[in-house]
Symmetry: C2
Subunit: 210 residues, 2 copies
């Protein structure tokens, strides 16, 4: 059973439990999926309305892309959890002599690098989804504008959670070249994503008081 | 079937669809529940560890409260959706003469006030849950500190979404006394909640680089 087949209650209870997964990474993927879904909802509630007819082709493109991102994020809940076992195994490896120590360090380093991959993808997808919301805010039905605002807040939070999960793993990795490269890539996406998210949210607020 | 019994996939697809509920309010309640659950997880992963034994009584209290809040938030997904039908009915009422217009305005005003209640509770519960995380950050296991950081980001996002949903309804309500009172209550909670969330997140970041 994948996480996406579990009930909301079951997932929240699993999250709250002392089981190590799902954790913050899985929660971030789910929250990002909900943020993307709110963008799709706004598009779907705009279709067929005369007032917004000119925007329909662009909004159709956005929904197609958002649907793809939503599915990818749902799968990431499971993919993130799958990285826990190799990490946990690596931590449990013996280190009673130099050879064992070296082997443990090698396996752990590899597992930590792999554990960065899902939160890195969460960051990249949130960045992309925030841009989709930027394209929705002035094209979607004004009646559901607040849902764009909610979507953007969820994506911004998931973006920051993704970043935090990358950073926690990076802090334990020895390969400095890898660390610097990943940190710079993620940092650039997060800063750009946060700035765009704030801009979209301000736009929602200014349109709502009109 | 309650929303909390639906699968993650089903809920995200319902959210993305053109059905008017669930929307941003329901998503905010779910995201807040996930934020609270991450706080519980950190407590549950701290219990039984010698190093943190002195904090266990306080963390047990926090988990009890967090569990109560998580359940309340899960129910709010349904409660928020239940406010949509009366609103939709009110908008559909006839207004072909003065008597009908007055009656429609009266029913709509009532429905809008009631639609404020769930997002107001989401704001209040997020405010409380953020304070719980403030109590966890220096007491929970350092190994899962990043989950406190994720929890606080989700709660901050849900807090802002709750506020936005209150404001959208307030903008349509005629009763100025009600509007001012609700706006001030929510504004105070949101400002305090955001400030505390930022403080907790900064604390997470500073502890992680130690």
């Amino acid at each position: 059973m994948t996480y996406s087949e579990k009930s909301l209650n079951q997932f929240a209870n699993d999250l709250a439990s002392k089981a190590p997964v799902p954790g913050g990474g899985g929660a971030a993927a789910l929250v990002a999926a909900l943020g993307v879904a709110l963008g799709s909802m706004v598009c779907n509630l705009t279709f067929g309305k005369k007032k917004y007819a000119e925007h329909e082709p662009k909004l159709r493109e956005i929904v197609a892309e958002a649907t793809r991102l939503q599915q990818a994020l749902m799968s990431m809940i499971d993919e993130d959890a799958q990285h826990f076992l190799p990490l946990s195994r690596a931590y449990g490896m013996p280190q009673s002599n130099e050879a064992e120590k070296a082997e443990k360090a090698r396996v752990l380093e590899q597992a930590l690098k792999e554990a960065c991959s899902v939160p890195m993808r969460i960051v990249a997808v949130c960045r992309e989804a925030i841009d989709l919301h930027a394209d929705i805010v002035d094209r979607g039905s004004r009646l559901v504008l607040s849902d764009v605002g909610c979507g953007i807040q969820l994506l911004k939070a998931a973006l920051i959670c993704g970043e935090l999960n990358v950073m926690v793993n990076l802090g334990l990795i020895q390969d400095d070249v890898f660390v610097v490269q990943v940190r710079e890539t993620v940092h650039r996406q997060v800063e750009a994503g946060k700035m765009m998210a704030d801009r979209v949210y301000s736009r929602v607020e200014s349109l709502l008081v009109q």
